[in-house]
Subunit: 445 residues, 2 copies
């Protein structure tokens, strides 16, 4: 890591945010300052070792001096697969907890665990995180954090009661181009940021799961279940995470309100119909495409797209527009334009686009590119887990915290409310209780 | 024109719309049926011969057996330039009307004029169109039609009182790819249409007009004036026109409501500030980016972007998504994908994209490509005027009518109301008074 660059960027950002650089206890725990509590050897538990949990466990196990001490899952076969991965990696088997929904509490009761990664089914994120905070384990929480406003507040309350750190494992924050755009923004390249788009457009068309009988009470499957139970942006955090970092949300800025508008539900029925499956007539609540527009308190706007059902190529729809330029990149069409630098009103050519991305490549990526490429998800999971492990090791405040987790996740219940009432504006609660006014940007610094 | 193809497409569409093909008096005047009133020689007047009006006049004058009989403008120099164009084209000078705001009424009083093209300043579109309808001149009306809900209704009322045809000259309806997409949609390629995007993102950053003293009472300039006077999607029709055709709006479908959300006004002030101009502190009302989301009565959704102030490359942001495919093309990134035909979850390559566009190229374009290329605006103006002249000649019902004009233009006052109230849903009036239920698609058939 290039310490000078980090420091310089940080100073620049503090100036950019228009705030004086004052002492902030959070920064006593920032990455470059070893603290008295720094642990050389870390003991990590993983709750939920399905496909996603095993992947995160595997990444954590590869970090230096990290031992996966314990794992937990209701499925014995998931546990067996996880143990196989550990053994294949040259590690000892973990102690396994299974046999009941609350076996995870036995894992949390262990004295030798420093942090737990929670990657269980959506329905379990809140109770497990609450129990883990109370057990004083540094939590790495998979997305989404919570799916109701009540649960969002519960997470905040227990955090403020326990002060146990929670890092929200929103891997898309570590997207290479999104981080480069963050660097450009902090360098003033975009001028005053005004408008952004993002989304999660990951087609599940063709999945076998649409052809199985719908189970609305299961706690081991969430995607079909919640398509049946509600109409919402079910999965907003991959899109909004990087954008929230661009706009310093909860750190000098905050989301004010949103409106959501959905198409009818059609894709799942249509897919089932094409397969002569009885789900052709099931009344799913979920609209195929949900368009959410967020207004910030600083009068910027953000479009969040949710589009997981219709057939289409993948996209997270990122774009950013300011008074001095626009980026619309990453998926279909890679466009960047800076007034006064680019040919008037023309997108830069591929070569110049790449040159900007290279120039503003974040040090995390610049230094660790080769390792990240082998770690899956374009390396974003690698950096997410690396940052989590670093934070646990240093007892550092997480770069993506519980307030980010609940603010981003609250788009689920807020969009649901807006859709239910015919696209009414729904206001974000201020989970930070006015601390957004003084909290400083941290991510990527 | 390939009559067989038109007929076949029409039958297909009628089936697609799920309606029986019943006798409809509108089709007695459709393009391929000469009517008793067919005029070989046409006499056309042009009201407003600024840059835009002169361009449309020039195109009309090149159509066979069309004489530009009279022109009108408050500016003598505009009239001189228009006469110069006519002379250069080998035509006689037109009779010119000028000298007062209402000189256009003298033009309308002429008995020898079959149709008038209205291309004056925005503020004059409604009174001129009303007077022209009452004078029984077939109107070709430049965009936008009206800017208040009251004026939208006035246009409808006078139309229903006079039954004088008005063709709304929304040139972007004739966009080549948008017409090809319409053909694909009618052929069932997209399955059930679900979601579309469109917009008008035409940067006026850098224009000298931002540096002049703001005049909010002028009737010869509208862009700066209305940026000062209101916050709205000021110019929705270029975006929404083709999309309304895709979704059969006013013809089996209708817009239900919209929500609009705007950024703060920043670009004009910022540009003025960079030029040490006093407008740096002028309180413009217009937000830099306005995002409008429309819901149709058939539960489709349409995102309409208005983004004319920040520096950026041009786009009208067209995309269309259905249960069987998605197109996201034309500007940055040309993407098309059809489930079962395209490589799974991958955009087609350039070559296949072009092949689809060629296969579904609309007969209008296929037959008249060379001529259109010389006519400016990528040929869309050429087709708009050609269709207008054909409609006047045949006394045919216009392919884009007064109901389309006011429905599309009503996005201006509705977005203004939504923005003023904090992104509330605002409902579209039904200008057709329930006739949308039985009116048949016409455009491009």
């Amino acid at each position: 890591m290039n310490k000078k660059l980090n420091r310089r960027d940080f100073l620049k950002t503090a100036a950019f945010a228009g705030t004086a650089l004052a002492f902030n206890p959070q920064f006593a725990f920032s990455r470059n300052i070893a603290t008295p509590t720094r642990k050389e050897r870390l003991s990590i538990g993983v709750i939920g070792v399905g496909m996603r949990g095993r992947h995160l466990m595997n990444l954590a196990s590869r970090e230096e001096n990290v031992v996966i001490t314990a794992i937990c899952d209701v499925s014995q076969s998931a546990i067996d697969l996880a143990q196989g991965i550990l053994e294949k990696g040259g590690h000892k088997k973990a102690v396994a907890y299974t046999g009941s929904d609350y076996a995870y509490r036995d894992l949390l009761n262990r004295k030798d665990i420093d942090g737990v990664i929670i990657a269980a089914n959506w329905d379990w994120h809140v109770p497990m995180t609450i129990d883990a905070m109370r057990a004083k384990k540094y939590v790495g929480l998979e997305v989404p954090a919570a799916m109701t406003m009540e649960d969002c507040w519960k997470l905040v309350e227990v955090y403020e009661e326990t002060h146990t750190n929670v890092m929200f494992l929103e891997n898309c924050c570590y997207d290479r181009e999104c981080m480069a755009i963050l660097q450009m923004l902090r360098d003033g390249m975009f001028g005053i940021p005004m408008h952004a788009t993002c989304g999660y457009r990951h087609s599940a068309w063709g999945s076998e799961k649409w052809l199985k009988p719908v189970n609305t009470t299961t706690k081991i499957e969430h995607f079909v279940k919640y398509s049946a139970l509600r109409n919402a942006d079910q999965y907003p955090t991959h899109g909004i995470g990087p954008v929230a970092n661009w706009f310093n949300i909860n750190r000098g800025n905050r989301f004010l309100y949103l409106t959501s508008t959905a198409t009818k539900p059609q894709a799942i029925n249509e897919f089932a119909r094409q397969h002569n499956n009885p789900n052709a007539n099931y009344k799913f609540k979920q609209g195929d495409v949900v368009t959410t527009v967020i207004k910030t308190i600083k009068d910027e706007t953000i479009v969040v797209n949710y589009d997981n059902y219709l057939p289409r190529p993948y996209s997270r729809d990122y774009s950013l527009q300011g008074t001095n330029g626009i980026w619309s990149g990453l998926y279909l069409g890679r466009g960047i334009y800076f007034e006064g630098k680019s040919p008037k009103d023309k997108w830069e050519k591929e070569k110049e686009y790449d040159a900007y991305m290279e120039k503003y490549d974040h040090p995390l990526w610049k230094d660790f590119y080769a390792k990240a490429q082998n770690a899956g998800h374009g390396g974003i999971d690698y950096f997410t887990i690396k940052e989590y492990i670093r934070s646990v090791r240093e007892s550092a405040y997480p770069p993506i915290d519980i307030y980010d987790a609940v603010t981003w996740s609250s788009i689920i219940p807020l969009s649901e409310a807006s859709l239910a009432k015919g696209s009414t504006p729904e206001f974000f609660p201020d989970f930070t209780k006015e601390r957004w006014k003084t909290r400083k940007p941290m991510f990527g610094l």
